[in-house]
């Protein structure tokens, strides 16, 4: 009898904890979005989105953050693309060619997780050191390369988690039809795991566009929109950072408007990837 009562209390207690934790998360999310929107929306204007900073922008005069929007898009698109070219073969190699060499694959996974955990400022500092060594200046290209390095572990591991779910039977079936490993990798694995690949791209893009520390030293900051890879570029996170550290209230509020823009871009990418991976999920086989 007492034991039964204890079970009921135990059950209720843990349910309460789970419920409260979920509430805290949802509440925190809403609080963040609310405070950004509340401060950001009033300063958000067409001018803000379509113009680069003019003379007195950082004193609250006219101009916008188009330089940072375009810069960030250039940077993260370029980095996501570069990282894809490197990550996809790595993830496929781990799962198609090395799948039975568990020790090697697990060692690679461990190293990637380690890289994932390195703070982005370290990547920035590392990139900066290399740039000095090579005599390079801060530029869009340097920023892209450092961000690429930053997101490769994320992308590889995200794809890897997907490729891991491919059952051996599918590999064997394809092999018994006469497919080579290359054909198994590119025709079967990628098709089966396309939703995972898309999710990996999104995750990396989100990380790329939101990171400030790694581009601080490498991409620089400028009020102009870059027209070549060797020019400096502005980014949204740094734009937020610089405006937020201003003592002028108008400039501060503009930082929140920039944050709204950044959040909106990430939201858009999320929705897009949801739709895409939903479409491709239909042709994946459920095992």
């Amino acid at each position: 009898m007492i034991k039964g009562l204890f079970k009921i209390i135990e059950e209720g207690f843990f349910r309460l904890i789970m419920f409260l934790s979920t509430c805290i998360i949802v509440f925190a999310l809403f609080l963040i979005v609310y405070s950004i929107l509340k401060k950001g929306i009033p300063s958000l204007s067409l001018e803000m989105l379509t113009q680069t900073p003019k003379g007195g922008f950082y004193f609250g005069k006219e101009g916008g953050i188009l330089n940072a929007i375009i810069g960030s898009l250039y940077l993260s698109t370029g980095a996501t693309f570069l990282a894809l070219i490197i990550s996809l073969p790595v993830a496929l190699y781990m799962n198609v060619y090395l799948f039975s060499r568990k020790k090697i694959v697990n060692a690679v996974r461990f190293l990637l997780d380690l890289l994932w955990g390195i703070p982005s400022i370290v990547y920035g500092a590392f990139g900066f050191t290399i740039m000095i060594l090579l005599g390079m200046k801060t530029s869009l290209l340097a920023g892209i390369i450092v961000i690429t390095l930053l997101i490769i572990p994320i992308m590889v591991r995200a794809m890897d988690e997907g490729f891991k779910t491919v059952p051996l039977g599918l590999t064997e079936s394809a092999a018994s039809l006469g497919a080579t490993k290359y054909e198994i990798a590119f025709k079967v694995f990628i098709r089966q795991c396309l939703p995972f690949v898309i999710t990996a791209l999104l995750l990396s893009f989100g990380r790329a566009i939101g990171d400030a520390a790694s581009v601080l030293f490498t991409a620089g900051f400028t009020d102009r929109i870059p027209t070549s890879l060797t020019q400096q570029t502005a980014t949204l996170p740094l734009s937020i950072f610089f405006q937020l550290s201003s003592p002028i209230p108008e400039v501060k509020n503009r930082a929140y408007a920039a944050a709204v823009v950044l959040t909106f871009i990430v939201l858009l990418i999320s929705i897009l990837s949801r739709i895409l991976s939903g479409t491709y999920k239909k042709s994946s086989i459920k095992f």
Binding site: G169, L170, E172, K282, S284
Partner: protein, 253 residues
């Protein structure tokens, strides 16, 4: 070697790491007949079958020694032509593994690996193989739909059609009905009876009644060894070995 034998295995030994899985296998599989490899679970039936099309090559921890002849040609120690070898055999696994693409592409996958083909040719061949697997009537209007939308019984027949499409002369089936309902199982069994006119069929099963229904030739395995082999009637009616008798009586269950 007797000419009616399609596959001949000599002194086959297989180790996974250091574990001895298949012990000194010597078997002969007759041409254009259904050969059933019978035995309790875990006796190495599936592993033996995977040796035949060298799927064992996918796993570096497996070492195989011995000789396998197909049409008098040694295939186990032949380092090249492995994809060609695999295309000579259609594989049907325990549960269907359709490829993550449309019904049409599932079958054209194997055809296209052989060589580039014209669309008209593909269309005709795909219809032919789907009819052979008795699936055509159910899917003729939705060839472009993903294979994942088929029921599991349909998927297994799709896998059969896909296996036939690479134009093999041998069909390997690893407990092909174990995931299917009785109706679909019957459809597959019936299909095999028809197909044996033109194919050599090897079926792995632990279901005695299925073996009795289908087999022309039986290989009985126990714990990695071939205990007895022979024509179905002989083996089922007059088993020589004690273990075979026990299995036929159902003692192992």
């Amino acid at each position: 070697m007797n000419e009616t034998y399609k596959i001949k295995v000599e002194d086959l030994n297989l180790y996974i790491d250091k574990k001895h899985i298949l012990k000194n296998i010597n078997i002969q599989i007759p041409k254009n007949k259904i050969t059933v490899i019978l035995g309790p679970s875990g006796c190495g039936k599936t592993t033996l079958m995977k040796c035949l099309n060298r799927l064992t090559d996918l796993y570096p921890e497996i070492t195989v020694s011995g000789r396998i002849y197909i049409d008098n040609e040694e295939i186990l120690n032949n380092r090249n032509g492995i994809t060609k070898l695999r295309k000579r055999m259609g594989l049907l696994s325990q549960r269907p593994y359709p490829l993550p693409m449309s019904i049409y592409k599932n079958i054209s996958f194997g055809l296209k690996i052989s060589q580039r083909r014209k669309k008209k040719f593909l269309d005709r061949r795909i219809e032919h193989y789907l009819k052979q697997a008795s699936l055509w009537d159910e899917v003729r209007d939705r060839l472009k739909e993903p294979a994942s939308c088929l029921s599991i019984g349909q998927q297994q027949r799709l896998c059969l059609a896909r296996g036939l499409a690479v134009d093999p002369d041998i069909i390997l089936a690893d407990e092909p009905t174990s995931a299917l309902d009785p109706m679909s199982s019957q459809a597959i069994e019936k299909k095999f009876m028809e197909l044996k006119q033109s194919y050599t069929i090897v079926v792995v099963t632990h279901i005695l009644r299925q073996a009795v229904r289908m087999a022309d030739y039986v290989i009985f395995m126990y714990l990695g060894e071939v205990i007895e082999q022979g024509p179905a009637k002989e083996l089922f009616n007059y088993p020589k070995e004690e273990k075979t008798k026990a299995y036929l009586k159902g003692v192992f269950y």
